[in-house]
């Protein structure tokens, strides 16, 4: 016991909300169970077109959220770090025959983390949109290099890389269901670890740097190390997402799959879902990846034939754009905050306000 505690003795309360994991844990395990059950029940379309991309983009969103939402460093290099993860995993599997898949994924993540640290160095000096713009250097340089130097893609004519053997412990994981479970496992583990991180003192350091770095430094947070750690951790997660994107989702990719648009998409997921919220990455991914599919399915079901196909597509695009604007006006803190507010309202219902 410290001397401060000796100075005033107040019983420490029992309930500690931030660190109260019980309901979160229950919800999390519940969702995981649903995800596993879904994996046994749904068909190829759901795996290949919905669940797998949704989970992977949520994972990428989670990774970027660690950096942007928690540590306050907005990056547009996500696509590049995904590319590093994908190309590194590919080369590890190619060049180290017999390397088990999980290790290759972790290895890919580590390479991405290294790239993240390298391109995170400017954050020690540069802030705000200037930093964001400077991460574009990574975004343009890295995919360029993968396209430029044939070594990275093992000199294929098309410059693309293809899913290596997806197997683990004798299981063939290259079926849609197998790829789904690979993805789900990676997402579940990384989500769990990320939750641990953001709830720890290290996560607190991230947020302190985000909210006010001078004050954080004065409190003893090592700013430089914290920022670079954030870049590393975030890029690791993003790198794994990149590898999954390449191999569990698309199968064959080239550097164009990781272009600036990819970076933007992930950033949208983070902002729409809610910065600084783990759940936000998932909700955001649902919004950004699934909503257009939903709109398009609904539109084709109800309006195909009635409205000109091209105009219908344009209307969908306008609708999606308008939804983004409306959502941000209604709740600038993102969908996760909207849900939280909604829950609070429910809890106090019918009392006002």
């Amino acid at each position: 016991m410290s001397s401060l505690a000796a100075a005033v003795s107040v019983p420490a309360p029992v309930l500690l909300p931030l660190h109260r994991t019980s309901t979160g844990l229950v919800t999390g395990l519940g969702l995981l169970a649903v995800a596993v059950l879904a994996g046994l029940a749904v068909d190829d379309y759901w795996f290949n077109a919905i669940l797998i991309p949704f989970l992977i983009m949520a994972l990428a969103g989670l990774g970027l959220n660690l950096l942007t939402g928690y540590a306050g460093q907005a990056s547009l290099g996500t696509g590049a770090f995904m590319a590093v993860g994908a190309y590194a995993t590919y080369n590890l599997l190619l060049r180290l025959p017999g390397l088990p898949l999980p290790f290759a994924l972790v290895g890919g993540g580590l390479f991405a983390a290294a790239a993240g640290v390298l391109f995170g160095l400017p954050s020690l000096r540069i802030k705000g949109f200037y930093l964001t713009a400077s991460t574009l250097a990574a975004q343009f340089l890295l995919p360029w290099a993968f396209n430029q130097y044939g070594w990275f893609s093992n000199y294929t004519t098309s410059g693309s890389i293809s899913a290596p053997r997806l197997e683990f412990a004798g299981l063939d994981l290259s079926t849609p269901q197998g790829r789904y479970f690979v993805t789900l496992a990676a997402v579940a583990v990384l989500t769990w670890l990320s939750i641990n991180l953001v709830r720890s003192q290290a996560g607190l350091a991230f947020m302190a740097v985000r909210d006010m770095d001078t004050a954080a430094a004065v409190a003893g947070v090592p700013i430089a190390r914290t920022k670079l750690t954030a870049f590393a951790v975030s890029s690791f997660v993003i790198g794994v997402a990149g590898a999954l994107w390449a191999f569990a989702y698309l199968g064959t990719v080239d550097s164009r799959s990781f272009d600036l648009d990819r970076s933007f998409t992930v950033l949208f997921i983070v902002i729409i879902g809610g910065m600084g919220s783990i759940a936000g990455a998932f909700v955001g991914s649902a919004f950004v990846i699934l909503l257009p599919i939903l709109i398009s399915n609904v539109a084709t079901t109800f309006f195909a034939g009635a409205v000109d196909a091209g105009q219908l597509e344009n209307l969908q695009k306008i609708l999606f754009g308008a939804l983004i604007v409306v959502l941000l006006i209604k709740e600038p803190a993102g969908l996760a905050a909207l849900f939280a507010k909604f829950r609070r309202r429910l809890a106090t219902w019918p009392l006002r306000p």
């Binding site: 401060l4 003192q201 909210d211 954080a216 003893g220």
Partner: protein
């Protein structure tokens, strides 16, 4: 230990054309409460910024706890046990009160990233110990009722106390307080003053305080340093300073 805890020797600081501090020297003894007063723009906050590494002095030396310490970084200052509150609340606005206070423990954190991510025993033990400390600090400044509130939405005066708790929780040897009572009413000031006295008395924390309420300064300080235009114009016991005609003219005005 003999000698002052903090010794400032000929410290100068300037910004494009403005001399914020000019060859400033003074000592703070271990365990005392030293107040810095002076007109607006005299350089008080700048001095605190130099002491804990937010600004780098152009010249001069600082000796803290017997060691030379001229141009510290904020981290070094924190590691050596210098705590700080700010004039414009520098809180982590989107964190709860509890988290803000926990962040104040960063300088003593030992668990690494790996520990945190995998929740090793070490991380868990540290987290538990930190939480006890934070809860105690929160209780100390009487913020239990706000523990889980987001700091950004708290009234100004409450924020000031959060900042105090954040600075206190890691039990620094030297506490730098920049106008901790600004924007408070009489009762609230008395409350904060009591806290400062308690910290000083119970923990032996040395305090350097900037405050414009002269009543508080007189009541609280062992020692007052007066700055004007970056220079020291007075240094001594509160009573003496108060009588100093220069101080009255430049700072207090006739009514006091």
């Amino acid at each position: 230990m003999t000698g002052p805890l903090l010794s400032v020797r000929d410290v100068s600081l300037s910004f494009k054309g403005i001399k914020a501090l000019t060859a400033l020297s003074f000592d703070v003894a271990e365990g005392e409460i030293c107040s810095l007063i002076g007109p607006n723009g005299a350089g008080k906050s700048s001095l605190l910024n130099v002491l804990n590494g937010v600004y780098r002095a152009d010249a001069g030396e600082i000796v803290f706890a017997g060691e030379r310490f001229d141009r510290p970084t904020p981290i070094e200052a924190a590691r050596r046990g210098i705590g700080r509150t700010f004039q414009n609340n520098a809180l982590f606005k989107r964190l709860t009160v509890l988290d803000n206070v926990l962040a104040g423990l960063s300088r003593t954190a030992r668990a690494g990233l790996f520990d945190h991510v995998f929740r090793t025993g070490r991380a868990r033990r540290e987290a538990a110990a930190f939480r006890d400390l934070a809860e105690t600090a929160i209780a100390f400044v009487d913020l239990q009722g706000h523990r889980d509130a987001l700091v950004g939405q708290l009234p100004y005066g409450v924020q000031k106390r959060v900042e105090l708790a954040r600075a206190l929780v890691s039990e620094p040897r030297l506490l730098l307080l920049d106008e901790p009572m600004a924007g408070m009413n009489h009762d609230e000031k008395a409350e904060i003053a009591r806290l400062i006295v308690d910290v000083n008395a119970e923990l032996g924390t040395t305090v350097v305080l900037i405050e414009h309420d002269i009543g508080v300064v007189m009541g609280l300080s062992d020692h007052v340093v007066v700055l004007d235009y970056g220079r020291k114009v007075g240094d001594g016991r509160p009573e003496d300073v108060r009588e100093n005609p220069d101080v009255v003219a430049a700072y207090l005005g006739t009514r006091h």
